[in-house]
């Protein structure tokens, strides 16, 4: 049996965090939750997830900063990052588009679309 894939979800809204992680668990993934920006990077290093789902508007450290840090770290660079954003209206578009995520989704989103994106981004399971 192939090991469960681990996904780290970072969102400051408790309901979204709870429901999304429930859905992912039901989908067969292992879930790590984070509600605060400053914890995410440490948590990523510690738990080594296969994919990270980041909300943009996190307290203390914003999603874009975290994404940059992940991608700057050679040990973590390979981890795919999906950025969720409720609104980037306050930011200039160049800033938004410059964030080096592997994919992005605006809230509210279709869960089936998110699941599909996750599937596409996760590396193929090794045989055997």
């Amino acid at each position: 049996m192939s090991p469960k894939r681990r996904i780290l979800i970072a969102d400051d809204d408790p309901d979204i965090l709870a429901m999304l992680s429930l859905r992912l668990l039901k989908a067969g993934y292992d879930v790590v939750k984070a509600a605060e920006g400053s914890l995410v990077l440490a948590l990523v290093r510690e738990t080594k997830p296969d994919l990270v789902i980041l909300d943009y508007f996190l307290p203390n450290v914003k999603g874009d900063e975290i994404c940059l840090q992940i991608k700057a770290d050679s040990a973590l660079r390979a981890i795919p990052v999906i950025l969720l954003s409720a609104s980037t209206a306050a930011l200039p578009p160049e800033t938004v588009h410059a964030i080096p995520t592997d994919d992005r989704l605006t809230k509210p989103f279709d869960i089936s679309i998110l699941l599909e994106k996750i599937r596409l981004l996760l590396p193929a399971e090794s045989a055997g």
């Binding site: 809204d13 309901d15 979204i16 429901m19 999304l20 429930l22 859905r23 039901k26 989908a27 508007f57 409720a86 609104s87 209206a89 306050a90 200039p92 578009p93 605006t106 809230k107 509210p108 989103f109 279709d110 869960i111 089936s112």
Partner: protein
């Protein structure tokens, strides 16, 4: 009132000519009067000659008479008288000779007269001598008498002809004098009238010029007064500075703006009126105007006793009549209030933008959670769901989607309104874009048994546009069409002049002309749409703004009962 030398040349010449004419006239008159004088002298002379002739004649007669008297009476006194008379005759002759010196003709006559008179007197002498000797032989005396008579006749004839000659000459002179007089008078009148006319014309023109100049001066004074009224009446500051930024002139409003009396400003420079920083800025802008020779508008924040105020100052070069720049003219306006208002507006706009962003974020977050939950239940992740439950939840999903769209559209609309919507332009294949949207709607259309047809033009040129936004517009039009109709919908592309045209034609109830004008306004929904799928009323308004930002046009062609064709155009050669 001054006259410049240019305007004085012609009256000068005119007067000179008139003067010359008068001088000629006067000269003619002088010559005439000189002529008159000469004539008078001639007349006198002629009468002198005539009188002398007469006195000669009378002297000779008296000499003869005295001789005869002596002959008869023998009185010696008669001989004395005779001698007196003879002497008179000689002096008369001498006088005549003298008088007729200028006439060769008369001189000849006088010479002959001398001979004749001399001969007559000698006859008298002979007779006297004979008488003194005791009597004369009657025959001798008879021949002497005869000779005397002949001589008398000839003398008399000569004297007469000489007199007539003199009278003739006199007559001639008189006639000449008359003609000369007439001519002179005519000339004099002509010249006087000519010069009079010239003077009159000059005077008329001069008086007209004086009147013109007076009017011009009056007009100038009036327009000067008007200018002064305008400058003084302006609520803006109007001022003039020289090249050293010294105030030459300022109106009352300007003095009030600075907060000083006018006499405390005129003649002073900005260094004496404002702080060093303000002075430096004002001087710099004055110098810029003087160097460049071009007008410019400046804005300054100045600390005044009444508080810090912002001024907008339009400055221009002040040129002297030769065109050399000698200072600066300016109009300054207190825009403090306006600037404050502008800042408030900008603040408000920023608040609005921030608010919209915040609100949409706040609204989207719980909506995300709700959607996650409902979707999760509907896709049976949390266990079985019965038919009823499923139906209910699907309804909830629709509302969630609608709410989500509403939030998106509101935010889009706000961004477009405030100009903060970013457009990412690239080359787009319109046909492909349109076909993608149609494909995405196929499930919905199939579910409602509506036929979607596409009719794309071949060889449609690529268009530079924001693909996402144009897709949004096509989606909006197609979704509207699906709301309005149960029949076929045709999406087509074509060339329209130099534009690419996309049309969505439905077979619905159509839109009346009155409704057509309201369609693209925000929050307008037409009858019959709310019941079906519900719109936000912003879709078309947003589409319109997007198309207009692309320099395109959006519109509708429709007749009630005959469906509607919504279309938009995008220019092909658009310099993005």
């Amino acid at each position: 009132m001054r006259f410049d030398k240019d305007s004085l040349w012609y009256p000068g010449i005119g007067f000179a000519v008139a003067g010359l004419l008068l001088a000629f006239g006067q000269r003619a008159l002088n010559r005439y009067s000189q002529g008159m004088q000469r004539s008078a002298l001639w007349v006198e002379h002629t009468y002198d000659v005539i009188r002398t002739i007469e006195s000669l004649s009378s002297a000779v007669s008296r000499a003869s008479a005295n001789r005869r008297a002596y002959q008869i009476t023998g009185e010696p006194s008669y001989i004395l008288e005779h001698r007196h008379s003879a002497a008179d005759a000689h002096s008369a002759l001498a006088a005549l000779r003298d008088l007729t010196r200028d006439s060769a003709f008369q001189q000849k006559n006088v010479l002959r007269l001398e001979d004749l008179v001399g001969a007559r007197l000698s006859v008298m002498d002979d007779l006297l001598k004979a008488q003194a000797r005791g009597g004369l032989d009657p025959r001798k005396s008879a021949s002497l008498m005869a000779r005397a008579r002949t001589l008398d006749t000839r003398i008399h004839g000569l004297l007469t002809s000489m007199t007539r000659y003199e009278e003739g000459v006199l007559q001639l002179r008189a006639e000449e004098g008359q003609i000369g007089y007439r001519r002179t008078r005519i000339l004099q009148y002509a010249l006087t009238m000519a010069s009079g006319l010239i003077i009159l014309v000059i005077l008329l023109r001069l008086s007209k010029e004086i009147a013109d100049r007076q009017k011009k001066e009056l007009d100038l004074r009036n327009s000067t007064v008007l200018m002064e009224v305008v400058i003084e009446g302006s609520s803006d500051s109007v001022f003039v500075k020289d090249a050293e930024s010294r105030y030459l002139m300022m109106n009352t409003s300007g003095a009030k703006m600075i907060g000083r009396p006018l006499d405390g400003i005129i003649g002073k420079t900005d260094s004496e009126l404002f702080s060093p920083e303000t002075f430096a800025r004002l001087k710099a802008s004055d110098q810029e105007i003087i160097q460049s020779g071009r007008p410019k508008v400046y804005e300054y924040s100045v600390a005044l006793p009444a508080g810090t105020k912002t001024f907008q100052s339009s400055k221009a070069p002040y040129r002297d009549p030769q065109g050399k720049i000698v200072g600066v003219i300016g109009i300054a306006r207190d825009v403090t209030a306006q600037k404050a208002a502008e800042e408030k507006l900008q603040e408000a706009a920023q608040i609005k933008a921030d608010f919209a962003a915040m609100v949409s974020h706040e609204l989207r977050t719980p909506l995300t959670a709700i959607k996650l939950v409902i979707d999760m239940i509907v896709d049976r992740t949390l266990g079985p769901v019965n038919e009823e439950q499923n139906s209910a939840l699907v309804t909830a999903q629709r509302s969630i989607d609608r709410l989500s769209r509403l939030i998106n559209e509101t935010l889009d609309f706000q961004k477009l309104e405030s100009g903060k919507m970013e457009f990412r332009v690239s080359e787009a294949d319109v046909n492909r874009l349109v076909q993608e949207v149609v494909i995405s709607f196929e499930p919905v259309a199939k579910g409602r048994s509506i036929t979607l047809l596409t009719n794309v033009a071949k060889d449609l040129p690529k268009v530079r546009c924001d693909k996402d936004k144009i897709t949004q517009v096509v989606t909006n039009l197609l979704s509207n069409a699906l709301k309005f109709t149960a029949g076929p919908i045709t999406v087509s592309t074509a060339m329209d002049g130099s534009d690419v045209r996309v049309s969505v034609k439905d077979s619905g109830p159509g839109v009346s002309p009155e409704d057509q004008t309201r369609l693209f306004q925000s929050f307008v929904q037409l009858e019959g749409t709310r019941s079906i799928q519900g719109g936000t009323g912003l879709g078309l308004a947003i589409s319109k703004k997007i198309i207009e930002r692309h320099d395109g046009k959006i519109g509708i062609q429709s007749k009630v009962g005959d469906g509607a064709t919504f279309f938009f155009t995008l220019p092909v050669d658009r310099s993005a």
